[in-house]
Amino acid sequence: MPLDLVLRGIFSAAFVASVLRISTPLILPALGGLLTDLAGATNIALEGIMLVAAFSGVVVSAYTHQVGLGVLAGIMAGMLLSAILAYFHLYLNTDVFLAGIALNIMASGGTIFLLYTITGDKGASSGLASGMVPVIDIPLVREIPFLGTIISGQNIFTYAAFLLTAGVALFLYRMRMGYHLRAVGENPEAAASVGINVKHVQLAAFLMSGFLAALGGLDLSMAYLTLFQREMTAGRGFIALAAVYLGGRKPWGVLLAAILFGFADAFSNQLAPLKIPSQLVQIIPYAVTIIALVLYAAQQRARSSGQQRSMK
């Protein structure tokens, strides 16, 4: 029975674990997208940041034989790209959307260009012996049936994704800087009038966004796979942007939205025995995002008209 096979596949611990693994490079950039979005600017360059970080991580870890240095280089490269975007947007008055597109193009072209220059291959860095971040086996947890397979034995980026979701939530709702960030996004003039330096706050949001997206990129090239492939982000930066809206612009919502995308991806692969075309299944999360976008906007509208009424 093919259906049997599919169900058994989905309700296995290995499947849940793989959903988390696939979701990690979506959760991290989505958190980054959330921070800039709440600060009032769409970071459309998440895709490029991930790509540059993935590439730098592989190259530096291959040449220094130090995984840690590779990760560090990836983070620096991603944050640098994000800083360039912030500089053009905040200080040169470039439209953030167009500058972001330009940086995506530069990241896509630049990584292939350098890959070819370094390895002589335009497809992948298979010639480089690049590093892999450690997988963590949690001693006692590992023994728990079902849950053990899911919680233990993931790579550090997957754990980081969940911890950083909590971190971002803490930052946004419990820290002064987080309040400032949301105030700037809500109403920059009002924020400026109470003495918040709008540009500094937005710059900080872009840097944090770059950091988070870079981790997502590093997950792709140093954990999920252990090499760099051209265009290996494959639109994940854009899906992450969608997850921000699908998740209602709240950290835990964004986490769930990113996992939903990861689930749909993993699920569509599991459907092979049923002969349902995977392309059709993969459409579902995109369609859901559009519906969520509409619902979210409707809710915002209801809220703002409610506020106006209560003021009267």
């Binding site: 008055n93 193009i105 260009f113 559009i290 409707a298």
Partner: protein, 374 residues
């Protein structure tokens, strides 16, 4: 100098030329860093497209796609609608025209127009969707068009693999189109130039799409500059609140802007299937998704300058291809040049000649607020 730099049009042109020159200079520096023979590589890049008849053909063929895409994007951007939907509309345009070319048993002079019409129509409808979501549902168009692209590309794959690919074929592609479904040469078969025609069609694949591209350009220019819709579109782009105050139905205008933009992207897709590839292939839109944006930015969203920008940018792309084939520099250098052009043209404070355009930061925040409050 003041009489030169005084006119905004001249200033804009100088700005863009300077941006392109600066980007080309950077490209040359990069070439010097990686190439063993940078001069030859850069010569191939700059002059290669003109060196042979077939290369000129490749350049012109790609420029036609870029004109259509550039028009699609500049129409949307002129109204400050940041649609990224061209790629999905292009994929559907290619699919719709390809299906007509493959399966509708009509003679050439009916089948090709029907195929083009199908592409324009699907582009219109698939474009209207995010416009409707933006205007009436307040849905952010950047995210919605990206999602619709993803959906369109997967539907394209699905249709291609499960319904159009001949059973047992190794590659995910359709049969080659029959002759009645392929765009004919741009030179009609007339007796007095038969010799020239045969020579040219052997060397380059330049089709009647050339005329359709020119017509599309003229129509786009006329619509934007001379019709009420064009006026409403520009008003919405300049100040949507003011436009609404002035009695413009801004919601209807926004839907139409997206839809009309989709027509041009759909036609670009038809060019890919009926002209460039002459069959439906996997990833048919690859590498062209964002290229319309570059063309639109170089043309400053003015349809009048789109052909110029498209030919110029198409030339750089063609040059990069030739450089890759004849030297040790990969064609992706052009992407770096392209990114630098976008950044330099769109950054208001980088290049000279623009002092008058400086706006107070408060104004830009207001504009930002409008965009994201929506």
């Amino acid at each position: 100098m003041k009489w030169i730099t005084g006119s905004p049009a001249v200033r804009e042109t100088l700005r863009i030329l300077l941006a392109v020159l600066a980007a080309l200079l950077l490209g040359f520096i990069i070439t010097c860093l990686v190439s063993k023979d940078p001069l030859n590589a850069y010569r191939a890049f700059l002059f290669g497209p003109l060196s042979r008849l077939n290369r000129i053909g490749d350049w012109l063929e790609e420029s036609i796609s870029l004109i259509l895409l550039g028009l699609a994007v500049s129409i949307a951007f002129k109204a400050k609608q940041f649609s990224l939907g061209a790629e999905g509309q292009m994929a559907f345009g290619a699919m719709a025209s390809g299906v007509v070319a493959l399966f509708v048993p009509l003679p050439l002079f009916l089948r090709i127009p029907l195929a083009l019409l199908a592409a324009a129509l699907i582009g219109f409808l698939w474009g209207a969707l995010p416009g409707y979501l933006k205007a009436y549902m307040n849905a952010n168009e950047i995210v919605s068009t990206l999602m619709l692209n993803a959906i369109a590309l997967r539907l394209y794959d699905y249709l291609l693999i499960f319904h159009i690919k001949p059973p047992g074929a190794g590659y995910n592609q359709s049969d080659s189109f029959p002759e009645e479904g392929i765009l004919p040469s741009f030179m009609p078969p007339l007796p007095f130039w038969e010799e020239t025609r045969r020579m040219l069609t052997n060397q380059m694949n330049l089709t009647v799409m050339l005329y359709i591209g020119v017509a599309a350009f003229l129509i786009a220019y006329y619509v934007m500059a001379r019709t009420p819709f064009g006026y409403e579109l520009r008003m919405v782009g300049e100040n949507i609140k003011f436009a609404k105050y002035g009695g413009i139905n801004t919601k209807r205008t926004i839907v139409l802007v997206f839809a009309v933009s989709g027509i041009f992207a759909g036609l670009a897709g038809a060019h890919l299937s009926l002209g460039v590839h002459q069959k439906l292939i996997a990833n048919i839109t690859v590498g062209l998704g964002f290229e319309g944006i570059v063309v639109a930015i170089m043309a400053r969203n003015n349809p009048l300058f789109v052909p110029l920008a498209a030919f110029a940018y198409g030339y750089l792309r063609a040059g990069a291809d030739i450089m890759e084939r004849t030297s040790d520099v990969p064609r992706e250098m052009i992407l770096i040049v392209q990114a630098v052009i976008i950044l330099l043209v769109t950054a208001e404070y980088v290049l000279p000649f623009i002092k008058q355009r400086i706006v107070k930061p408060e104004d830009s925040y207001l504009a930002e607020g409008d965009r994201y409050a929506a």
